[in-house]
Symmetry: D2
Subunit: 284 residues, 4 copies
Amino acid sequence: MSEQSYRLTISCPDRVGIASAVSGFIAAEGGLITEANQYRDPVSNWFFMRQVIAADSLRYDADELQNRFATIADRFDMTFRVTDSSKLKKVVLMASKQAHCMSDLLYRWRSNEMRFEIPCVISNHDDLRSYVEWHNIDYVHLPVDADKEAHFAAVEAQLEAACPDVIVLARYMQIMPPHLCEKYAGKMLNIHHSFLPAFVGARPYHQAAERGVKLIGATCHFVTTDLDAGPIIEQDVVRISHHDSIEDLVRKGKDVEKMVLAKGLRNHLEDRVLIHGNKTIVFE
Amino acid sequence: MSEQSYRLTISCPDRVGIASAVSGFIAAEGGLITEANQYRDPVSNWFFMRQVIAADSLRYDADELQNRFATIADRFDMTFRVTDSSKLKKVVLMASKQAHCMSDLLYRWRSNEMRFEIPCVISNHDDLRSYVEWHNIDYVHLPVDADKEAHFAAVEAQLEAACPDVIVLARYMQIMPPHLCEKYAGKMLNIHHSFLPAFVGARPYHQAAERGVKLIGATCHFVTTDLDAGPIIEQDVVRISHHDSIEDLVRKGKDVEKMVLAKGLRNHLEDRVLIHGNKTIVFE
Amino acid sequence: MSEQSYRLTISCPDRVGIASAVSGFIAAEGGLITEANQYRDPVSNWFFMRQVIAADSLRYDADELQNRFATIADRFDMTFRVTDSSKLKKVVLMASKQAHCMSDLLYRWRSNEMRFEIPCVISNHDDLRSYVEWHNIDYVHLPVDADKEAHFAAVEAQLEAACPDVIVLARYMQIMPPHLCEKYAGKMLNIHHSFLPAFVGARPYHQAAERGVKLIGATCHFVTTDLDAGPIIEQDVVRISHHDSIEDLVRKGKDVEKMVLAKGLRNHLEDRVLIHGNKTIVFE
Amino acid sequence: MSEQSYRLTISCPDRVGIASAVSGFIAAEGGLITEANQYRDPVSNWFFMRQVIAADSLRYDADELQNRFATIADRFDMTFRVTDSSKLKKVVLMASKQAHCMSDLLYRWRSNEMRFEIPCVISNHDDLRSYVEWHNIDYVHLPVDADKEAHFAAVEAQLEAACPDVIVLARYMQIMPPHLCEKYAGKMLNIHHSFLPAFVGARPYHQAAERGVKLIGATCHFVTTDLDAGPIIEQDVVRISHHDSIEDLVRKGKDVEKMVLAKGLRNHLEDRVLIHGNKTIVFE
């Protein structure tokens, strides 16, 4: 993890010779592959690949790698991307009042367990300010009143100023308007506090208690214009019993939410998550 | 487990003194309690209890225990039940073509891992006959044709002849008619091949693949007139990934189905499952 | 959880009539039981019980409950204890350099997810001072040099001053001397970063990598004079693969450590953990 | 899974250009890659690869693929292997009295969930004969008396006659002599009823109960001359509590054993398991 590397991610229609062309290119450039994954979706006949190349095995940087690879990409109608592991992604965190996901991500950030930059935290409440600011991170309080449009205009301006690579809705309890969903498609992650597609929408733990399920869960997904219906990145569950009150469900659920969001975000930051229609390929 | 015992299960409105009255009664009779559970639902203020009493600590049998306890039950408006662990329950298994749940239950039965009697296996197909008959169990083939009513009339007649304590729909792929659901309310268990309430109805693994979930599950529940909506007894999940085809989902799901059904049935056979509205209390 | 209650925990040799005597006593006092668990160990023939009584159903406080119950306790040779849920336990946290368990517990504490008092944090390093002090908690730095005896004398003095109900070794990387283990027997919890009894002692993740296991785990246990051999309160595991480096094992393991320690401590704080020889009864 | 394919597995010292050479070779032959995995162990600097090639994309069979690939293999000092998915492996199952793993594997075999041939079942007891023979599989009873050498000579003769690709010790309760471990190195799988390395040797569930662990497990590993110390293929665990007697541990453990053995064997049959020293690479 800690050594500099370039990550090449690819998707394209499958045919014979793609893996050969890609690895042949890397070998010809002298590139040492430290990690490689590929997947062929037999239904859509689509091809996905992730290659990690040791930076010091190449004589040039990620931009040049991107330029040189373009010829291969053209030949196979590839969508592709090159990222440099040493260029930390900018992640804007958005939250409301609840602190569990925010605290968890900030711990992982300050302990270098996960490496990214935080241009700012945006919240529609002021509750988390002191904690966030202890980390020397800008806290932007954008309240929501009757005029939701004003709120989202302010959010949009703030996001534009921050130039984020990723936006994380870490229990931000407002429904993002469609134009922001589209503007940041594939870049905005949400944590939903249920095992989707069960219990879409508000108060999923109450819905779960009502139905009498024996497990509750959480889902990290990309935000799309369909509420809680975007491509799923990661999910997990925890066992509950009749003893558990709604309060217990919320408490147990928080631990799952934190873990699922952290794992989903980590995979996304490491360019392990490729989107294919409404699904994801996660190269772990 | 193996020593004879009487199981007393109780539900009633909660008030001070119930536990005292019950355990006082048992102590006065000289009963040795080997297992005891109780639960108070704070929302409905309802009380649930399960007591297991060593049979040889009493001077009489389960019927007499039932008679003597009636006075206590009256005082507290209890619904209660006494069962004798040495009287094996009669379990009718119903299946269609798929063998995984049937095979699993038959293994647990013949190895004495789970103790019950099997008056017969009922199926709308003949596929599982040879396997079932190897166990010296009656196999009743009741085909389904255009006239579903005829099928269910035959099923009902067969069930009446068998006098089952429990009916297990071990991947029986027909929707049970309402009057049979009601007739065997609280006695008929189904295994549904999804993590309910997600993916109700037909082809849940196809629905799961379509939605791109990262876990699939199974649910053991009591059958009610609402399809796949009865009280849930047990659920579990297994992790899947983009690599898994529908075929893989079906295969992985089968293992979860088997385990969930076996665990749900075991708990039900041991009188650990109490129904409360559309939920269950499971005293494990 | 949030309403005041008294918790009565009991252990004694089993015989007929104990549950009756206890619940009879509670009923006679007008006590409303909101939660109750009991267990009989068939091997040692020992009886364990936990009763939770709504405080407002009694006309007196926990001390008086303790006094009144003593008669019952004498009759059955009981070891017993009454605690008041509104009297928060004093928990001294001890750590070294690693922040993950400390941060996790402090989050749960400041968000009121777990309720206890923290007289101070003791560490043999100064690394966590700023973070702990942000919470307005005393941070006591007691360095370890060649003279370990001096360190532990200082620790002991500090502990005596703090009068802790519980001491949590939240990745405190020093071996506690026998006389402190004995002094705080049943009150000192440790988190060990392996699935005990596998990989006792130092560098368990390295041991795990060396052996090529497919799961790693963590264990919360009471500290005794035998290193990593005290009664186990809670354990859990996480899946790893050949892809995971030692660094990955450490990272994944930290999440399990946090969860296992938090769950073990929660159960201990709620008086759910009873010690029986070198094992625990955990009434969940 | 169901379409014919060739599986190429490779291990060799890592250097630039291996992936390129392999995929270049496959592309030049017109091979369609349907699945591909690779791994580089950064500690030993060793390279591992598994490629699955659609059989109908090549103009020749697996033997010819093996011949043609030899040139590449020589260049990189590869150990490699080509298998044909349509040539079912011959798996000899060995058991003693316990039926759970045997029944589970036979179910998976007869339902075509796992595809392999069973030349015979070998047991030192006669208990499982009737069940095995119902499947039309040869049952070879080789009793063990004082003369263990005679038993193992008979086992060896039987194995030689069967020419197995794989030998599965499905709860065969005899310690395999060193010369057989060596003769079938990398081909003989065992299921051990504990989470290794905890509880090596006899009666692991009793050891687990004695230690008071909160999870029990099972381990599928290659048999080597060191008892229970060979390369681990798969492991899993299940939660237990103080309520569980030894009998319960055995029962719960059986379910884990079955699942772990089936998963380990499936991966081995699909040539997903590569051995590296005392560890395994499992390409899932």
